[in-house]
Symmetry: C2
Subunit: 140 residues, 2 copies
Amino acid sequence: MHKMNSKNKTFIDKLRSSGLRPTNQRVEISKFLFNRKKTFHFTVEELKNSMNFKRSKKISTATFYNTVHALKSAGHLKEFSLENNTSYYDTNIKSHHHFFDNGKVIDIKSDKITFQKLPDAPKGKKIKNVEVVIRLENNN
Amino acid sequence: MHKMNSKNKTFIDKLRSSGLRPTNQRVEISKFLFNRKKTFHFTVEELKNSMNFKRSKKISTATFYNTVHALKSAGHLKEFSLENNTSYYDTNIKSHHHFFDNGKVIDIKSDKITFQKLPDAPKGKKIKNVEVVIRLENNN
DNA sequence: ACATACTTTAGAATAATTATAAAGTAGTTA
DNA sequence: TAACTACTTTATAATTATTCTAAAGTATGT
Ligand SMILES: [Mn+2]
Ligand SMILES: [Mn+2]
Ligand SMILES: [Zn+2]
Ligand SMILES: [Zn+2]
């Protein structure tokens, strides 16, 4: 008694090609994360609550953590931090920048910010990437 | 039986002028944090371990947390996050940028980075500050 | 010295995350 | 399809970072 629609196929392939067995839980989580137009920024708790809210058969906390870590390792998610002690994940894996607006995170495309001056990497090192955070506050 | 040297005076004043009673613990912690030439980036655990290592009379964990929070509220420390679930603190309270090199954090003075292009803040918002993280990796 | 508010402390509590190990499932092979 | 095996899910325990609690201690004003 499995639901199957044409969307799932995409995620099954995505998981398989990353060496992850496309279990029901992983497919559901992938669909929830990646089947949307805009970038999704989330914590594991938020993901768990919003997915499990409507489900009769809940997915376990450990599976949410396991799956998010697996997707991160496979390069489908990026991890980042705000100024609290929780990990956030980003469905936009391209190098890009962020607005932080009281806990709300908004993507800034890489080409929206360019530099006039950037320091050289210390000797023996090179630059892996450059990410900018623009913190916002309310006007007036 | 209090040790007192001319350095402590500075920190006593600093604490008093921030509305914090200059207790022994706070003075010791302030001296440890601020009596150095270079910026210090640390977690509360790191601070606790390095200060308590040599002391016979240990300062309690709660006091390290309390004092770091108090110093942050007073504007003498800034909090930031790496990609783990621990708060880091920065003795450099000026707006500035960072190199991240495998967990090691190095300051970049604000004027070492300038922008050619920056996005506008969404309407109703304004930019509070802009901080850049340059992630490093080893050469070759 | 006394009073009082603030501070320190040990220990309990909480939140996010990771570890454990038993039960379940996917992919493979007979 | 049945059996096999490696991988996955799950409930639960453990860990880590941090905050809370409330009792004992201390700084400051009088
Ligand atoms: Mn955590
Ligand atoms: Mn934490
Ligand atoms: Zn993003
Ligand atoms: Zn710094």
